[in-house]
């Protein structure tokens, strides 16, 4: 028996090996290399800089760099606002479709999912055309309905960030909706029947039965969306270029600029390491505070 298990384990290992090798090659090796060069002064525009060890200089520079802190603040606002809006809208849409969708639920679900299937770069380009002050649909609607809104929302820092958040919400609310809908579908009927027999109202049933049942899935969706939002790049790159000023320069754009415009590879690597640690900490914290508590409950 033990021999058989050993054989089975070896076979399992053999089958897993290619995936493990590929994953190590494409994730672990670059990650380790990235951490390594963050301690060097590697910049493409200086010959031989690849091997100049600078210790923690890049990290010190990072913490004293106003542009870095600005991009972190922009990113934080973007992540919180877009994830929250997606959570609220996604849940509301899922509840509407679940309870009132009836026969149309399949069509509604498929229709709402369309934005999610569009590539982020295309979303950026689409909104860039839509918001064009001379020829765009948005400007046309503002004129026709006398909306009194600015026809150039991308020209001011506050509204430009709001536009980026809204494009993200437009694209990713369907994801939240889909996850919540799946969670709603998996809720067993028995607790509802029991609650109805006990005379519980709709709101009470929603609070005491629906929310606890869908919370694990929604929690995971939130963390997935928050991580994705942290990595946003395409939309600000296409729509605003980080401007006006630096009002929409998210952390990934800042890192991109350092790495591929200024060619400061080591500094960009240090930015990535810090971002990685921050996301890891946030993930662990979130896991402990929200998900594990749910499991304990």
């Amino acid at each position: 028996m033990s021999l058989q298990v050993g054989y089975r384990q070896r076979t399992a290992l053999l089958f897993h090996l290619p995936a493990m090798i590929i994953l190590t090659a494409i994730t672990m090796v670059p990650l380790i290399y990235n951490i390594r060069i963050s301690f060097f002064g590697f910049t493409l525009t200086q010959s031989g800089s690849r091997d100049v060890f600078v210790g923690l200089d890049n990290y010190v520079r990072l913490f004293t760099d106003h542009e870095y802190w600005n991009s972190m603040w922009v990113t934080a606002r973007f992540v919180v606002c877009s994830t929250l809006l997606q959570l609220v809208l996604g849940t509301v849409l899922a509840l509407i479709i679940h309870y009132y969708g009836g026969r149309l639920h399949r069509i509604l679900t498929s229709g709402i999912m369309i934005p999610m299937l569009v590539a982020p770069l295309v979303v950026g380009l689409m909104f860039s055309f839509t918001l064009n002050p001379q020829f765009g649909l948005y400007s046309f609607l503002v004129d026709v309905f006398h909306l009194g809104l600015s026809k150039t929302p991308l020209s001011s820092g506050g509204t430009a960030l709001a536009v980026l958040i809204l494009t993200d919400v437009w694209e990713w609310t369907p994801f939240m909706m889909l996850m919540t809908l799946a969670a709603l579908r998996s809720v067993p009927m028995e607790p509802y029947e029991a609650a109805i027999l006990d005379g519980a109202g709709r709101i009470l049933i929603f609070r005491k039965i629906t929310i606890p049942f869908i919370r694990p899935v929604v929690s995971v969706s939130i963390i997935l969306r928050a991580i994705e939002a942290f990595k946003v790049f395409d939309k600000p790159f296409i729509l605003t270029g980080g401007g006006p000023g630096n009002s929409t320069e998210v952390i990934d754009m800042f890192t991109y600029r350092e790495a591929f415009v200024n060619y400061n590879f080591s500094y960009a690597a240090a930015l990535c390491v810090v971002l990685f640690i921050l996301l890891l900490c946030a993930g662990i914290l979130y896991w402990r505070l929200v998900i594990r508590r749910q499991e304990d409950d």
């Binding site: 493409l44 525009t45 200086q46 010959s47 690849r50 542009e67 860039s128 064009n132 002050p133 001379q134 020829f135 026809k151 150039t152 991308l154 020209s155 001011s156 820092g157 605003t240 270029g241 980080g242 401007g243 006006p244 000023g245 630096n246 009002s247 600029r257 591929f260 415009v261 200024n262 060619y263």
Partner: protein, 456 residues
């Protein structure tokens, strides 16, 4: 049977010998000493490069040298080139890169001088004439401290585009004279430029050149996005106003009163521009001109072919081109990609033959006819091109007064810092004085210990 097999083998051997000898003859052909060599070239995907690509078969036929031409957008191309040169991979024999990287390339020994090649008679192409190269262009693009490193590839220069039909309209001329007290002509100085911009800015419903406007019309448009387009445009104003980045002695003058005046002037044009200035690059500016909603703009001459293309432009044939207005100095921002032979090029001699071929009049003329600008005087003065291309004369005039960006190793980062500060001013986050003060402080940090710069 054995005899037959032997005969067949002998026959095959003879054929091999005959063709083998013939092939060796090709390799040893004195007129094609580098036949069989493959050159690796990388350049930005632009009209001139595409026009060049179409002619590569001629080069291969003429020299026997194969060319692998890699193209892509600017950031990708520059990134790949830098990576290849830094890692000394020898991936490219010839690289095309914007001239502002010249200092970096030389300081790091990433490229090699082409001066020794000019004297190599054994490598000289018959139809290449060094004297025909426009000296100013070659110096701006490829000369560093008296040594030549490259020859311009895709050149362009900034000129003024204006709606010739509007400026020549009698009604508009009369109205302008009544309002401003002088004749309406393409502006020669920045005061006139501002007046013209204000004059032509009109709401939908008003009349323009005898017709009722169905949409708002604007006097000018400027590039205000945090992008290379903005710094490229603004530097024209700065130089023209007597400012700039460094003075002739290499001292930093970015926070000078002239620059502040130039930046104030630039921003004060915003009310006469289509809304959304902070999203404009040269692409948006070209579209606005093509759509016929602006009267004038300061623009790269290589955008003119798109404006003159009737299939995409409402104003083809209605646009005039002239040099940029003047305040103190007549200037025109020169922009160019330049072909360099990388220091670790596996085939530098063949690369030099390629560079010569690119700069022959036959090749350059075909490039010019497809929307590019030549590097040779003979092609620039080609009567066919002067007559056929409406932007040709203005380009010629502009090249005579061209100004260029500094080419010091730090320029790339300095340019990015400039984009940020100008963008703050356009967005209204900072005034000109604060932005230029902050920019000067960023520059002082970047250039610590290197001021005044000894060569730019």
């Amino acid at each position: 049977m054995k005899k037959r097999v032997l005969m067949a083998i002998l026959l095959m051997l003879s054929i091999t010998l005959v063709f083998g000898a013939a092939q060796r003859e090709v390799v040893q052909d004195d007129t094609k000493p580098y036949a069989g060599v493959t050159l690796h070239v990388i350049a930005e995907q632009q009209n001139p490069t595409l026009a060049l690509e179409k002619q590569l078969a001629d080069f291969e036929e003429q020299t026997g040298i194969q060319v692998e031409l890699e193209m892509g957008p600017m950031d990708n191309v520059v990134g790949k080139e830098m990576l290849a040169m830094e890692s000394k991979s020898g991936a490219y024999d010839v690289i095309s890169i914007p001239y502002q990287f010249l200092g970096q390339l030389v300081v790091n020994d990433y490229i090699q001088s082409i001066d020794p090649f000019f004297d190599r008679q054994d490598l000289k192409l018959d139809n290449f004439d060094k004297k025909d190269l426009i000296a100013g262009m070659v110096a701006a693009s490829g000369e560093w401290k008296g040594v030549n490193y490259g020859i311009p590839s895709n050149t362009c220069i900034m000129v003024m585009f204006y709606r010739e039909d509007l400026f020549g309209n009698p009604e508009e001329k009369a109205a302008f004279k009544a309002k401003y007290g002088y004749e309406l002509n393409p502006p020669e100085n920045w005061d006139q430029y501002r007046d013209c911009a204000e004059f032509f800015t009109r709401k939908a419903g008003s009349r323009l050149a005898g017709k009722q406007l169905t949409q708002d019309f604007y006097g000018t448009s400027i590039a205000g996005k945090r992008h290379d387009a903005m710094t490229c445009e603004w530097l024209n104003y700065a130089w023209s106003f007597g400012g700039g980045v460094f003075d002739e002695d290499g001292n930093l003058i970015i926070n000078s009163p002239e620059n502040r005046a130039a930046l104030d002037y630039f921003v004060n044009l915003v009310p006469f521009c289509p809304p959304g200035v902070s999203n404009n690059t040269w692409d948006e500016l070209t579209t606005q001109m093509q759509q016929g909603i602006v009267a004038m703009q300061i623009q790269w001459n290589d955008c003119a072919p798109s404006v003159e293309d009737p299939s995409s432009s409402k104003v083809a044939g209605k646009v005039g081109y002239t040099t940029i207005p003047v305040k103190v100095n007549p200037v025109a921002h020169y922009g160019a990609w330049t072909y360099f032979i990388s220091a670790d090029a596996p085939n530098p001699e063949a690369a030099w033959i390629f560079l010569q071929w690119v700069n022959t009049s036959e090749v350059q003329k075909k490039i010019a006819l497809e929307g590019g600008f030549p590097t040779l005087s003979s092609v620039f003065n080609d009567p066919e091109l002067v007559v056929e291309l409406p932007y040709w004369q203005a380009s010629l005039d502009a090249y005579k007064i061209s100004s260029r960006r500094p080419r010091i190793p730090q320029w790339n980062e300095m340019n990015n810092a400039m984009m940020l500060e100008l963008s703050h001013v356009i967005a209204g986050n900072k005034n000109s004085a604060t932005a230029l003060r902050d920019l000067a402080s960023a520059y002082n940090k970047l250039l610590a210990g290197e001021l005044p710069v000894d060569y730019q």
